[in-house]
């Protein structure tokens, strides 16, 4: 009898571990199951939207897609710049927003392979405490990339003229 009790005590850690293992396995599988089930609606929604859009937009060519995504004013502004600056040409690029808004990246991408020379941020150039700045020599055109509006194309002299009352160039 004493021996049986002793064996029971000895086996207790093993029994506890085995039970804990079972619980852990059950919890792991349950959480995995929940995670798969929880992902289903979102995935279905995302797939469904894309398939629906593809069906809805069948017949739209890439120009139409570009108009839809970028908006007509932005596309028009980009076309004006593309006509002014030839594909192997170059231009000066001014950021009319903040770096994290990415406006210069999007404009550069849309205008590539035209080469861009980055000038700086409009906000810094027009700040009352701005440091002296000047436009780099070379390109005739200045493109101002704006985060929430179409890009603006200015002649170099025109850009300098407009900057004058706004404290620049120094």
């Amino acid at each position: 009898m004493a021996r049986i009790v002793l064996l029971g005590i000895r086996d207790k850690p093993a029994i506890v571990l085995s039970f804990a293992g079972k619980v852990l396995r059950a919890v792991a599988l349950a959480v995995l199951g929940v995670s798969l089930l929880a992902a289903l609606p979102l995935t279905a929604l995302r797939v469904g939207k894309r398939v629906y859009d593809a069906t809805r937009l069948a017949g739209e060519d890439h120009r139409g897609a570009r108009l839809r995504v970028l908006g007509a004013p932005a596309v028009e502004a980009l076309e004006v710049i593309r006509r002014a600056v030839p594909p192997d040409g170059e231009y000066l690029l001014v950021d009319g927003g903040h770096e994290w808004q990415g406006a210069t990246y999007w404009v550069r991408f849309e205008l590539a392979p035209r080469k861009a020379w980055y000038v700086g941020r409009l906000e810094e150039m027009t700040a009352p405490s701005h440091a002296a700045w000047s436009l780099p020599p070379g390109p005739r055109w200045v493109v101002v990339a704006l985060p929430h509006a179409p890009a603006v194309l200015l002649d170099r002299d025109d850009f300098l003229r407009r900057m004058e009352p706004l404290h620049g160039p120094g």
């Binding site: 059950a26 792991a28 992902a39 995935t43 990415g102």
Partner: protein, 467 residues
Amino acid sequence: MVPAEALAGLGGVALFAAPGAGLAEILPAVRELPAGRRLAYAYLLGVGWTAGVLYALSHWLAVPLRAPAILTVAALPVAAGAFSWLRRRVSHRLGRRGRRLLVQWLALAVGGLVSFGLLCDALTNPLTDWDGRMTWSAQARYVRSEGTVHPAALSQRGWYLSHPWYPLLMPVAQVAVLEVTAAEPDLHAFRAMYAAFFPAWLLLIYGGAEKLAGRSAAAWSALAAALLSFPAFAGAGGAASAYSDLPLACFFGGGLLLLLTARPSPSAGVAAGLLLAAAVLTKAEGEIYAPVALGLAAIFPLLRGRGRSRRRRALLLAVVPVVFAWILLHSWRARVPESFESFEQATSWSLLWPGIVTRIPLLAAKARSEMVYFPDWGLFWSAAPLVLLAGWRGLRRRPALPLGLATAAPLGVGWIYATVSLRPEFVVGSTWNRFLVQASVPLFVLFAMALRDLLRRTAWVPRPLRG
């Protein structure tokens, strides 16, 4: 989309699948794989071969990146594959296949639907992501315009470019698609090529997992991967974007899995070498991951007794393309005047110590918040650690160690990058998810190994779900 434009997108995928099929035919290690996995490897080999050879030809021989050169490079493996197929005069054996499990059908259906959704998106919408427009596709436009991997915007100092030192394999692949399909500059025909990496990724995960964990665990793992939003739909690194992270994950994971097979043949070595070489040319991190994969394949025989000489031969054959790619990358980069400047401006190695310790709470909290963001990852990162823990017995098998180290490599690189960064929170927020994608193939195979143990030891799970 209009039919002609959709065809251009699909033609772009075929441009790589066809030479890849040729390579798969002449490499027995790939030829003998089941159809789905063979197709995945074929696609990856096709992208690696076509874009990699064009990259080398443009850099060293100034071959213009125009349709004649692109079609010639793509046609070579097609011809070699056709010749090999005719010489063998045997059709592929349809291997004896048992009845598919329910979960296999489920994984196939979900993976197929998500891939179809991605393809619809790629054919319908222009590129709207961040890095794709900031870096990869912008570079592709400069490369295409001048027909060389040394366009003036990259080779002259001062032009406004993001990360001009990033390798150009994927931009060259974009150029190949656009040139061969004579696409207009604004046509997004290259997007389908990126979308096709998603099914290839799923098939790699399923294939690697099936070998080491069986059909059921492999299918569950592939299903879990297919249901993750980030690798599929994220505009910042998923297959829906033009980021290079998913291609890098496929090249790294695919090459690694080929080298970690029990007795890799010389052709497995060649295929793995081509994929790892593509990894080197795809993204800066690939330069680290390729040697890691080769190193892990080299130490693997220490864990396994059999087939050491065979493995050594395969490994030597894998090293050759990787070294070639490394020389190409550095020789190309030598002509980029602003090498590493964007990296140097954003980092300081002096932060590594004691930052590697003191920044742990900050980085861990930020990384965790990315991983529990439901729209990107669902609940997967809550379930995965539990599965790995509860199925730990499944990780006692030999391949688990190299797979674990291979998973740790991208995560370690990401962690160190965030540690030495001047803006650690921003870096974790913008890169950690992508490092998870880069580590995903070996990670999911590990996940499957643990899941197999878990399913075996859980009697209450219905048999059709357990396999």
